[in-house]
Amino acid sequence: MFPSIAGALALIAGCAALGFYYAAQEGFRINDLQEFKKALMILSSEIEHLRTPLPMAAANIAKRTKGVVRDIFGEFAQLLSDERNETAYQLWAQALEGQKKRAYLAGEDWDAIEGFGKTLGYLDKQMQQSAITVMIDYINEKTTTLQTQSDKNRRMYRSLGVIGGLLLVVLLW
């Protein structure tokens, strides 16, 4: 009898944890987007006030951000400094490739981030700043939508986890 109760409790706890994990995922995605926004704001400042060349600006961003965003810009800075005969966009795509599985960003986020890379390398200050603003606007809009959804979904996923666990216990009993 005791092992059965213990098993049932473990099943409920497991399902509840799964529900909490899914509920938290959108929050993680928002965190990644916000970190990317921070990187863009640093880049904007480096361009506007210091005219820092891109390899050095990317390295500075890597020092001042964390997680997957730090690793993307760190890798990008390294690739830019390697003196390969490739475009900034090709190097940006390479820097993203290794990080896609690690981040919580969705496919549409990666499309936007990869698209941002197409603006790097050849634009004058004004146009480069415009491209950064467009990307920041995307992040602002996306995080606002996600935050609204997230409040609803968080409750739903948590409840589904707990109820799903209970249902499985009843069915298997």
Binding site: I47, R51, T52, P53, L54, P55, A57, L80, E83, N85, E86, T87, A88, L120, G121, Y122, L123, D124, K125, Q126, Q128
Partner: protein
Amino acid sequence: MDIKERLRTFLGAEAAGWVMNMSHDDFDGITELRLRADKPMFVRIGGEDYVLTRRGKTANVGFQGAYRPSAEDIAETMERISQYSFYAFETELSHGYITLPGGHRVGIAGQAVIENGVVQAWRHISSINFRVAHSVKGCGDEVLPFLYENNRIHHTMIISPPGAGKTTLLRDIIRQISDGGLTVGLVDERSEVAGCFRGIPQNDVGLRTDVLDGCPKPEGMHMLLRAMAPDVIAVDELGGREDAKAVEAVLTAGVRLLCTAHGDSFEDVMKNPGLAGLISRKVFGRYIVLSAPGAKPQILDGGGSS
């Protein structure tokens, strides 16, 4: 890093592939690379123009299989030249050139964006001209003994048309007098003499040389006088009236001046309104005239006589 490897890093992938087909020896004498959209790419070696082939180069400039850079190749090369940072070089680009590490100068042409009558940016760059800087140590040996009198160096002007080697000669003279014991202040407005990268000279300009990199010549000369106590002030491409005013300050401070100016001859420089006053007053004690690439330097005294 040798010239071949350095040039590779500045070119887009396609252009680099063709340029690297040339032999290693070709790069020792290379002075210019010219990329024009949809036109054959020219390489100038030892005063001769060549176009690029799959096997190297040919002097037959009408060769049908020659490399013709596309607009994309030009754009890619601009990305490399600007370290992927077009925005960081707007000031230089508004003057039509960028100086690269090593003192190589890249001139550009294309569609300019004008605001208030001033070039603000470039939308479509269609031509790129690399002028390859060569450090030729010892090229000043022949002229150096003529620049001294009673152990003091003369105010000296090097005169030559573009590409004849005045900057190379200036660099070597600076190196030698600096290593020889004089403190030299160099105003390197276009970063061509010292070839500074992040403020540190990439070319050998001597042990006692202080470099004001990217600084306008008139301001630079005044700053050096005030701050760095030089024995000699060196500047490249003197020309404007503002430059001449700053030279007056150098003369009254007891500091020697070493400079270059564009011109085919002494008479040619006399026609420069900014310099004519200085020359007619015999401010300079020596003129070194380089009439063409590789030509023997002609040494003139303050009156323009050899």
